[in-house]
Subunit: 365 residues, 2 copies
């Protein structure tokens, strides 16, 4: 059996608590002989700043590069609100994405039937919702240069951020979206603001070309990002796969996540290109929720998004689709049994702490 | 009585139909001697392209500059999807905003009680909702240079858009937001992505400074634009005034509009700086909805957003707040009476065409 090397980066806030539940699952898989994972731990975000005055150390970056997959918790919190920009907690995550070349961020927005009531949207609008948002993750305004604040004198400053996209960056994220659509409901909606942004014009042109050349069997549709956002709120079930740039993807995937009423349940995968020799790709898996400093350390956090992110690692990095299905089924079964962490509590449900939820999922497995 | 000069730019799609109802209202106000409006008409968007191969002619720009207020319908439609980028319909609107210096876009998102059921959100989440989104409208990624597509050879192109903000641009939009909050529920939420964008860092810094210097009596809160979007969907009533940049404002105001279930009802005002001599400010008023080419020319469009935009003109450009209140009350009364255009139809309601709705509002006045 192949040994897989994992780097666990719990991060800040509730990160360590939810990561502990993944560690528990890994230990069990190893003990049962179902898989062979070798894990290392590292620091990222505020916890790395506290230890080394950086958002991630060179040593941990090297471990991330050497690992077969990175499992990431969450970063940030008011404690680090005034640390210098370059070493703010988020910088560690952004560096991991950029340096590992993780250009494709997969964010499923699924409404668990047992939780449809938790949504602020009407049940019939969201029940059964199953969207995959494919967000470009290493380009656009997040990384473009210049990215500066200049003092103009007279009390005036000028801030500049630059949105840059090259053809190849749009092509490769397009392919990820079309490939995923083929295994789903065969429809891709591409979102940009071509009526205002040149990057939107190029985005639209390249998506159309990739589709015409390689994916004629998939339905491609274009929406402006603002009306796309409206449609997400009005009638989200019209979507299958949505592909969009880094900044629109940030906004739209968070909104889609919120629609489901299951923010504490949603995983994400960030993938690099497939190496032509090793056939492997770099990858990082993280929950969509943040570090939730207000509830950290109290055993209140929902570990499902984190466990489900590990499930995505099994599926996308280790070709263990069947095991991933079993993890998903175990989560669904535990929810159906009525067990609930505080974020998804409801009348008549059984309250559970972070570790009780993790244990229940393991038992179900 | 002072004479006020209006330029009416109906634009494309349903623009002319809904503008006709404003014209009807203006004619009546003139005939009754309640006010004295002089109106001119112009072309913008696709209709200007069809006539002159531009998105707005120099002649109409001159009229807009000379007018006391511009009343704008909507632009765009599939007919002009492949006209050159520089003369696409939206370019006319963007030029009006930029050349008239309309930096402050006010977008109220109000949920009419009679329409709460039309929202995709649960009634208790949106009933009574009353948010004012203040969007910066002449800066940011919409207008920053460079804004280019370059051919790199080898089938590769590079697209660049530039987000630029100077201190004074953030200060003046901040003041608009704080001033509005003082007449409302005294709370401003500023949204940016300071964890990723330098313009977000400056935005946050300048808002904080303006607040500390001039508006200590108003509550100021900062949210990241992605979690702000989530909060809009989850619990929108937490907001009073939201102030944000051009691109985030585009996305967030559309989402807020959709929450209310009243997209066809929502107006907007775009305001310039107050001239220190004349005490006047340039202004443009337009509905939040688009040109809806699919229903154009059939008398199906809802004229309320357009009429209500004219109501904002009365309030913000002509100091006729009382008359504006009467227009708002007439709209509410007609809705309460059960009259509905197709977009807001509901069981038991009386169906109305565009002109029947316009007439009913006038009769109520
Ligand atoms: C933490 C932050 C830098 C990050 C982003 O903006 O990408 C987060 O919001 C996300 O969506 O993963
Ligand atoms: C028509 C388009 C250029 C415009 C914008 O993006 O600003 C519209 O979406 C709006 O919000 O007024």
């Amino acid at each position: 059996m192949a040994t897989h090397k994992l780097l666990l980066l719990p991060g800040d806030g509730i990160g360590p608590e939810v990561m502990a539940e993944v560690q528990r699952l890994i230990d069990w898989l190893n003990a049962q002989g179902i898989a062979k994972f070798e894990t290392e731990q590292g620091l990222v975000g505020g916890s790395a700043y506290d230890a080394h005055k950086v958002s991630i150390s060179e040593g941990d970056m090297a471990k991330a590069t050497a690992a077969d997959a990175v499992i990431f918790g969450a970063v940030g919190g008011p404690k680090w609100d005034s640390v210098p920009y370059e070493v703010r907690p988020e910088a560690g995550l952004l560096r991991l994405r950029k340096d590992l070349g993780l250009f494709a961020n997969l964010r499923p927005a699924v409404c668990y039937p047992a939780l449809a009531e938790a949504s602020s949207l009407k049940r019939d609008v969201v029940e059964g919702l199953d969207i995959m948002i494919v967000r470009e993750l290493t380009g656009g305004v997040y990384f473009g240069e210049p990215k500066t604040i200049t003092d103009l004198g007279n009390g005036q400053k000028r801030a500049i951020d630059t949105q840059v996209y090259d053809t190849y960056e749009i092509e490769r994220i397009g392919r990820v979206a079309f490939d995923l659509a083929r295994k789903r409901r065969n429809k891709v909606t591409s979102m940009e603001k071509r009526n205002v942004m040149k990057s939107g014009v190029l985005w639209n042109e390249v998506m159309t070309a990739v589709h015409a050349r390689e994916y004629k069997d998939v339905t491609l549709e274009h929406q402006l990002a603002d009306s796309g956002g409206m449609n997400l709120v009005k009638a989200p079930k019209q979507f299958d796969v949505i592909v969009t740039d880094n900044l629109f993807g940030d906004m739209l995937s968070d909104i889609a996540a919120m629609l489901t009423g299951s923010l504490g349940m949603l995983p994400s995968a960030s993938l690099g290109e497939v190496d032509s020799k090793t056939k492997k790709r770099r990858s990082l898996f993280e929950p969509v929720h943040g570090s939730a400093p207000d509830i950290a350390g109290q055993g209140l956090a929902n570990p499902i998004a984190m466990i489900s992110s590990f499930g995505m690692a099994l599926r996308y990095s280790f070709d263990m689709g069947e095991l991933a299905d079993k993890v998903d089924a175990a989560i669904a079964a535990v929810l159906a049994s009525g067990l609930r962490t505080a974020d998804i509590k409801s009348e008549g449900a059984t309250p559970a702490s972070t570790s009780q939820m993790g244990e229940a999922i393991l038992k179900e497995l």
